[in-house]
């Protein structure tokens, strides 16, 4: 059994004392920052990124993965206790989770979220181990033509899955691709959009952009309507779900895991759509749909499982193809590059210990979350109750240190300020910035693959449809786009997202 020996290698790597420790630190820090209202997974990882610089690559990645799960889990905790989801994928958790907390069942809601996440994490780790190797084999046969088409598919999928207007998603991607053009053109050496500044010759830093938009922009947005929050924290007691509860959550957990695993592989914030879709599904199949929104435990179990399953499987395209499926994965790719590792299908064959170590550590991280978080609930509650006017200066401190220490450059701090302004502007006009970040990451790669593909084919654009793999990828993209424009699908998409309202 190949998989077994691979998993054994992963266990060897992940279960060393030092890696266990880094996983634990990651999970703990991730949860601690993630519970802070208004800080999602992207901001949390961006803030904590500098801590991993000094570590060996495997440990750094293990810690980052731990931060990611921790942040997600922390986001759900905040959603349940204060009705202030730290990130978009826990928005649906807040709907019923917070109602449960109001009904005095905060403990059960938190436990349900943890159990659902753990089950989903276990299943999707196995899926990752099963499907990643064949995908990487396939990816090794990819040429520039296939890579270009794959990225087109990725971007199209991110448009389809993005919430809000298609027009905006498309425009934000174009803008992101353009931002990716800043710097030296690798083919001709021409300086593009550098305004004569030598600091821009290498392009603008992804972390500075992400922190500006998700860090500063969010802080300003949150200060816009500063209101006092009430934490549902009087007593968080009665953690264990009752027998009746178990009966009600098993189905949603299974369905959520299946839904999340599939949607997570698709590029463009799969975890987000997964939690929305799971909520809509549970509401539809439930015998008590009228309870949804009033504290239905299914409304916590399903989306939380889907969310975590999606988060795990979104590692598949990142690890096998080197293509990020959401901004978090884009940050992971950034971290890999900082560690001197070129993401792509070669990772699995050249650094199997890294690859399998990360996969196994994800499961280990989930176990830790399960056993660590429920006892520590009191600590998280105290972190949540820190008033925002004390919190945001500290958030800025982490953003500033993080951005500066990446390249030791004050220029990056200014770049972050500029994107903070842009982030706030986008927020005001209702644009979702996530597609822009994807475009920004993919921009230089896409241009490079397009150029190479057309150079090899002597300018004949037909190669994109005559090579079978590429044609298939483009056909899927076209189908996806067509599907969104069709009224029927459009309506369900809107239904899936409207729950947030």
């Amino acid at each position: 059994m190949d998989i077994l020996s691979n998993l054994a290698l992963g266990l060897d790597t992940a279960l060393t004392w030092s890696n266990l420790l880094y996983c634990l630190i990651g999970v703990f820090l991730g949860t601690a920052i993630g519970v802070l209202p208004g800080l999602g997974a992207v901001a949390t990882i961006a803030i904590l990124l500098p801590i991993t610089f000094g570590l060996p690559p495997v440990s750094a990645l293990i810690m980052l993965a731990g931060i990611y799960y921790g942040a997600q889990y922390g986001g759900s905790t905040t959603a349940i206790l204060v009705n202030l989801p730290g990130e978009s994928s826990s928005v649906v958790t807040a709907l019923d989770g917070h109602q449960m907390a109001r009904n005095g069942r905060a403990g059960v809601a938190l436990a349900t979220a943890a159990i659902g996440s753990f089950f989903a994490g276990t299943v999707s780790t196995l899926l990752l181990a099963l499907f990643a190797p064949p995908l990487a084999d396939l990816a090794l046969q990819f040429g520039p033509v296939e890579y270009f088409s794959l990225m087109v598919l990725g971007l199209v999928a991110s448009i389809v899955l993005a919430k809000g207007s298609l027009l905006h998603a498309l425009a934000m991607i174009a803008l992101g691709l353009l931002l990716g053009m800043i710097g030296t053109d690798v083919n001709s050496g021409a300086q593009r959009y550098t305004f004569g500044m030598p600091e821009l010759a290498d392009g603008i830093g992804f972390v500075a952009v992400a922190m500006g938009i998700f860090g500063l922009g969010e802080v300003v947005g949150n200060l816009e309507d500063e209101k006092s929050r009430t934490v549902m924290m009087k007593r968080v007691t009665g953690l264990m779900p009752s027998r009746e509860d178990w009966k009600r959550i098993l189905g949603p957990i299974f369905r959520g895991t299946a839904l999340g695993s599939i949607l997570g592989i698709l590029p463009g914030g799969g975890a987000l759509l997964a939690s929305f879709a799971s909520y809509a599904l549970e509401k539809k199949v439930s015998r008590r749909p009228q309870e949804f929104g009033k504290g239905a435990i299914e409304g916590v179990a399903g989306p939380e499982s889907a969310n975590n399953a999606g988060a795990q499987t979104s590692f598949i395209p990142m690890l096998t193809l080197g293509i990020p499926s959401n901004p978090v994965m884009a940050l992971m790719i950034g971290a890999l590059i900082i560690q001197g590792i070129q993401p792509g299908p070669a990772i699995m064959t050249q650094q199997p210990d890294l690859f399998w170590g990360i996969i196994v550590s994800m499961w280990v991280g989930n176990v830790m979350l399960l056993f660590l978080n429920l006892p520590l609930i009191g600590l998280w509650v105290r972190m949540i109750s820190v008033p925002y006017h004390f919190l945001f200066p500290a958030i800025l401190v982490f953003c500033a240190i993080g951005v500066f220490s990446l390249n030791n450059s004050t220029f990056d701090v200014y770049v972050m300020a500029v994107f903070g302004l842009l982030g706030y502007l986008f927020r005001k006009v209702g644009c979702e910035p996530a597609p822009m970040l994807l475009g920004f990451i993919l921009g230089p790669m896409m241009e490079e693959f397009l150029r190479r593909a057309l150079l090899l084919s002597h300018g004949d654009a037909a190669v994109f449809v005559t090579r079978p793999l590429s044609a298939a990828l483009l056909a899927i993209s076209a189908l996806l786009l067509a599907a969104v424009v069709l009224p029927a699908v459009r309506n369900t998409r809107e239904v899936a997202f409207q729950e947030e309202g």
């Binding site: 000094g54 905006h168 500063e226 500290a394 800025l396 500033a400 701090v413 200014y414």
Partner: protein, 153 residues
């Protein structure tokens, strides 16, 4: 107030797209275009700029046709203070060192909240955070951050 604009957000977003696309196209027009089989530095950016402008125009057109969300008031005070705090941090970090730059960053940004008061507890907290960051990042993790030239923090 009755303007023909029904979707303020769409209108604003459209203007941003057109403006950014326009700038990119204007600057990009100076780069070599090349041909399909041998693309110059300007080829891909130009395609994207034109696409962005077109999408921006579409957004503006839609804002006259479809009802949308209002933009709402701009939170000038937080916006300016947060950005100012960040820029000040960048400017002061190298001459003054990490701890002092952090104190300035926190002080200026904290003023953005309407709950901001100059009280000694908050001041102590700020100094503690600045010193803790110095200890964790510079001493413990060895991140090379600038120190104050006079007292080394």
């Amino acid at each position: 107030m009755s303007t023909p604009i029904k979707g303020q957000q769409d209108f604003g977003a459209g203007l941003i797209y057109v403006a950014l696309g326009g700038i990119a196209a204007y600057i990009g027009s100076g780069y070599r275009m090349g041909t399909g089989s041998n693309m110059g530095a300007g080829y891909f950016p130009m395609v994207l700029s034109v696409l962005l402008i077109a999408l921006g125009v579409a957004c503006v057109v839609r804002s006259f046709l479809r009802k949308g969300e209002p933009i709402g008031a701009v939170a000038w005070k937080p916006l300016i203070l947060i950005l100012l705090a960040t820029v000040l941090f960048g400017a002061l970090l190298e001459p003054l060192g990490l701890s002092l730059a952090l104190v300035v960053l926190m002080l200026v940004s904290a003023a953005a909240s309407h709950k901001f008061r100059l009280e000694w507890k908050a001041m102590v907290g700020m100094v503690v955070i600045a010193l803790a960051c110095f200890l964790v990042f510079v001493q413990l993790l060895g991140v090379p951050l600038p120190r104050n030239p006079w007292f080394g923090l």
